[in-house]
């Protein structure tokens, strides 16, 4: 079964056609990696999945994104609800300007989850991302005091605290040092059990390490997609072969 089905999705930025007729499915409880050179529209595709594109009024969208059978671009859609169920881990860690505890607690608080056992949720999520031991003595300290890798794990905990079904990761390791990046990768691999993950990366090796399913984009078009094994072993398209061999991009 598929968690997300993208149907003939087109996106324009002003007059520029940045996503052209994308049709692809995202399998449930697997890691789907979107790869391609920079500027190919992978981040745009990712942000179209939880309607964060709405923030930019110069963007126009046509087509459908079916989330559990419902088109999230239907006029009657509850965007807030969509974004709650489809979380995002951004490229750069961006802790909200509040304490470590409040960063994780913010989501549950606004959603009215866990009244009374907020501390439990925060603890559990910080443990899940392996940050608990490092911060348990300074939960009231500002989150901006953490290192880059710690911040990104905090952001992951913050996203998971609202209990999303899908997790979107926009090159979430690109701004980190290699060791922190590996830490985040390990966490993401572990999350596959419970969540559907979609991640954007320009790092082919990372896609090899993590992905169950790969989507390759080129200049706004979907070139090839499929299960990771065959995709990397025997890509069908010339373009894909060239890209994987690093001849282009």
């Amino acid at each position: 079964m598929y968690a997300l089905s993208i149907r003939q999705l087109n996106v324009w930025y002003d007059k520029q056609h940045v996503l052209k007729d994308i049709t692809v499915d995202v399998p449930r409880r697997q890691i789907t990696a979107i790869i391609g050179p920079s500027g190919c529209g992978k981040s745009t595709l990712l942000k179209s999945l939880n309607r964060l594109l709405d923030l930019n009024e110069r963007v126009r969208v046509s087509g459908q994104v079916l989330f559990e059978g419902q088109n999230i671009y239907d006029p009657g859609t509850d965007v807030t609800d969509v974004r709650t169920r489809i979380g995002l881990l951004a490229q750069k860690p961006f802790p909200l300007p509040m304490s470590i505890f409040d960063n994780v607690a913010y989501g549950p608080r606004i959603h009215g989850l866990g009244n009374g056992h907020l501390a439990q949720i925060v603890t559990a999520q910080l443990q899940a991302v392996g940050l608990w031991e490092e911060v348990k003595d300074r939960l009231k300290a500002p989150a901006t005091g953490l290192s880059g890798g710690q911040q990104q794990r905090l952001c992951l905990a913050r996203t998971l605290a609202v209990a999303p079904e899908v997790l979107l990761c926009d090159e979430s390791t690109a701004s980190l040092d290699p060791i922190s990046a590996r830490g985040i990768e390990a966490l993401l691999r572990g999350l596959r059990e419970k969540y559907t993950l979609v991640l954007v990366t320009h790092d082919i090796e990372q896609a090899r390490r993590l992905a169950d399913h790969v989507v390759f984009m080129w200049l706004g078009e979907l070139v090839e997609h499929g299960p990771a094994g065959p995709f990397f072993a025997q890509p069908e398209q010339k373009l894909t072969q060239a890209y994987l061999a690093r001849e282009i991009g």
């Binding site: 509850d78 807030t80 609800d81 606004i110 959603h111 009215g112």
Partner: protein, 284 residues
């Protein structure tokens, strides 16, 4: 479920509240322009803007407010020039010689505080200065007081514009071996359209300010003749005409206010366009 509902209702409520405030305020402000235009157009005539007051002007007889228009322009022009002579070096010093230092921040703070000082206080100070120098109410005294009012406006606006200049401009220029003064020239060229905007803004504010020139520039029915003689100004012309008990003269107050408003709006628009249209040598 109930909680989600409540959150949504709140969201909608505040959105509409904000819209309501914005529309109400916009309507009130629109009403100002329309009201002045509506009352002013009736009394506006070529005579109004092309002649000085004649005998019995304030009793409803002939004449116009040319003396006030010209006086206001002289005052604002003088004040802006004087303020530029101080403000431009100050801003350039902040950005070229004392960049990022505490001095620059302290100057900025001082200018912000000066911006908040009421213009009547500058008027009172100007009045004291005038007496100290042995002057009487005159164009010169008015220019000095008004210059103090527009100085912080001019300096802070220009400062903001210089702050927006690309950061690499400094490295590029200094790497070519320029002295700071020569870099200053480069910076000035980069920010020239912005400087013009700042000057025009200050000029517009200068024309509209009345409290500072009230007792420094005085008032006269004659055209401005000398730096040492009193001079009329538009805001005061409006005020004095309104103070008379005659409806014909009061109607002229509205016409004068219309002239003043048009003048200020034109300058403001000009300032806006100078920012967007000018600047061939500006890196964006």
């Amino acid at each position: 479920m109930k909680r989600t509902q409540l959150r949504k209702v709140k969201d909608r409520f505040f959105t509409w509240l904000m819209r309501f405030f914005l529309v109400t305020a916009a309507a009130l402000l629109g009403l100002i322009l329309l009201g002045i235009a509506w009352r002013g157009v009736g009394a506006l005539s070529w005579e109004m803007v092309s002649q000085s007051p004649q005998g019995g002007f304030y009793l409803g007889k002939g004449g116009g407010i040319l003396n006030a228009i010209v006086g206001s322009l002289y005052l604002a022009l003088g004040a802006t020039t004087l303020a530029s002579l101080i403000a431009i070096p100050v801003v350039l010093y902040m950005h070229v010689y004392a960049r990022g230092g505490r001095l620059a921040n302290n100057v900025r703070l001082t200018l912000d505080i000066m911006w908040g000082i009421p213009s009547i206080v500058y008027g009172a100070f100007g009045f004291s200065l005038m007496i100290f120098l042995g002057l009487r109410a005159s164009l010169l005294a008015g220019i000095i007081a008004l210059a103090l009012v527009v100085l912080p406006i001019l300096a802070r606006t220009f400062d903001e514009i210089v702050s927006m200049a690309p950061r690499h401009l400094r490295e590029t220029a200094l790497a070519l071996g320029t002295t700071r003064l020569e870099f200053l020239g480069v910076l000035l060229r980069q920010t020239a359209p912005g400087l013009l905007t700042a000057i025009l803004l200050a000029f517009g504010r200068g024309i509209g300010d009345a409290a500072s020139v009230l007792f420094t520039a005085g008032y006269t029915d004659n055209m401005p003749e000398s730096l040492l003689r009193p001079v009329a100004s538009l805001p005061l012309a409006v005020f004095f005409q309104l103070s008379t008990p005659f409806p014909e003269v009061q109607a002229r107050a509205y016409a004068s206010a219309l002239v003043l408003t048009i003048l200020v709006l034109a300058i403001s628009l000009l300032a806006h366009f100078s920012m967007t249209r000018l600047g061939r040598h500006v890196i964006r």
